[in-house]
């Protein structure tokens, strides 16, 4: 038995919003792989829960008229990895979430939960930052869309207003078109481990594949929330593809990140793997985009 005070179940987004308004102290539960564990540990003991797990309308990936990819917030990790639209346009996201926990966790864990928990090590987060994802939030005043960068306020805290739930993650066409990316999860074990560092890079090359038109890089666990490395991006944008560029790009991340010492790894070690992962992920992204270096 879980130590919960009450459970309210929503069958639709409207019901979920109405329940949020009626029970402002209640906490949302999606797949529950964070919430139920924290309830067991006593952190959320005695809480009221609003279950949104039954809202099937929030499951699945689709494409909007303007090309935007729409990932319903309740889509599980395993369904993201298997999805044909994801595989075609943003395969790196499917690969990143295929490194969460183990198979059973990937069947229950949702992308909405992975972003609403505000955790820097979340395996989807660095890739969503690196692809300029937009978060869709639905509340009593309707729908609002917010860049994922602004959605994260501080460690463990996201910009969810009273009455709101997250209903989708959107990837604009401008963000994925002609773009290829790679994610590296550095952890102590291959499975069932939280990232010591997560690195997601993507590139768009010129038509002749010789110039980097745009590169984007984001890290998880390099700061209290996931972050982009702007200096590194500026170093590579518009430059000819080469090994030297990969080196300069990866060294530049040192100006952007501020990892911390923790029991998992020291600051110096995180700095070291950040540079190395940036380099490897950049090289792999260029290769996926058809470039040679």
């Amino acid at each position: 038995m879980y130590d919960m005070k009450a459970l309210y179940e929503a069958g639709s987004v409207d019901e979920a919003v109405a329940l949020r308004v009626a029970h402002p102290d209640a906490q949302i539960i999606a797949g529950g792989s964070d919430v139920l564990v924290q309830m067991r540990e006593g952190k959320r003991a005695g809480a009221e829960l609003i279950s949104i797990y039954g809202i099937d309308a929030l499951r699945g990936v689709s494409q909007e008229a303007d090309g935007t990819l729409r990932i319903g917030s309740l889509t599980s990790f395993s369904h993201i990895t298997k999805d044909p639209l994801i595989q075609q346009y943003i395969n790196v996201l499917g690969e990143a979430v295929d490194q969460v926990g183990g198979p059973q966790i990937r069947n229950i864990g949702t992308i909405g939960g992975n972003t609403c928990n505000g955790v820097t090590s979340a395996d989807s987060a660095s890739t969503l930052f690196a692809w300029d994802a937009i978060v869709e939030l639905t509340g009593p005043d309707g729908v609002r869309r917010q860049p994922i960068h602004d959605f994260y306020l501080k460690a463990g805290k996201v910009d969810l207003h009273p009455g709101e739930i997250q209903t989708a993650i959107l990837i604009p066409k401008e963000s994925y078109e002609n773009t290829f990316g790679h994610y590296i999860k550095y952890a102590m074990r291959n499975a069932m481990d939280i990232a010591t560092l997560g690195t997601s890079v993507n590139v768009r090359l010129s038509a002749d594949k010789k110039t980097v038109e745009r590169t984007r890089i984001a890290f998880g666990v390099a700061g209290p929330v996931p972050l982009r490395a702007a200096t590194a991006e500026q170093t590579a944008n518009g430059q000819p593809v080469s090994q030297e560029l990969a080196e300069a790009f990866s060294q530049a991340v040192k100006a952007d990140i501020n990892p911390r010492d923790s029991w998992r790894a020291s600051r110096d070690f995180r700095m070291h793997i950040a540079v190395e992962s940036a380099k490897r992920a950049f090289i792999e992204s260029v290769r996926l985009a058809g470039g040679e270096l």
Binding site: M1, Y2, I29, V37, R40, S51, P103, Q104, A191, M192
Partner: protein, 169 residues
């Protein structure tokens, strides 16, 4: 201070190992609680109860879930399978269960039902996997006894048998 706790129940209807069932459950129950206490599905083990070990694994609509971090009320309308559902009409064991015995993939047996249900999900895809892929697919389970190699071999052997192919040396 907190108001007095009021017990809250809900009737859930689902299919358990091929039979339609219904039960009134306490909303605070996990699926493990309901399967063990209300249906005596004691193959569903309580190990860590925080999603780490896989001992409580069951198949829900064909996918593997740790039932310890799954609310019992979410079973509504689902098809749930436990190890008990693998037995034939006269209690015969399925091929994958027999393979676990043949390969000595069981010692204390606590992890076994969970592993076997993940193996069922793997085998029912009808695909041929490499050893590396199988290791990844089985990585959501802890076994403190066998050292995993025999488990891997039992799954692999059954995979090749079902595919009608010889197992490579």
């Amino acid at each position: 201070m907190a108001e007095k706790f009021v017990k809250q129940y809900k009737t859930v209807h689902f299919n358990l190992n091929g039979n339609d069932v219904e039960r009134s459950v306490d909303v605070r129950a996990s699926l493990t609680d309901m399967l063990r206490n209300d249906f005596r599905m004691t193959s569903v083990k309580k190990g860590c109860e925080v999603g780490e070990c896989g001992a409580c694994n069951v198949l829900i609509d064909g996918e593997a879930f740790n039932s310890c971090i799954y609310l019992a009320v979410w079973a509504e309308g689902k098809h749930i399978r436990t190890l008990e559902g693998l037995l034939g009409p006269d209690g015969e064991m399925s091929d994958i269960q027999q393979a676990f015995i043949d390969e000595a993939a069981i010692q204390c047996g606590f992890c076994t039902p969970g592993f076997i249900l993940t193996a069922v999900e793997i085998l029912e895809t009808g695909k041929e996997y490499t050893d590396a892929e199988l290791r990844k697919l089985l990585s959501g389970h802890l076994c403190r006894c066998t050292g995993y190699e025999n488990i891997l071999r039992a799954v692999k052997k059954t995979m090749y048998k079902r595919l009608g192919k010889a197992m490579p040396e």
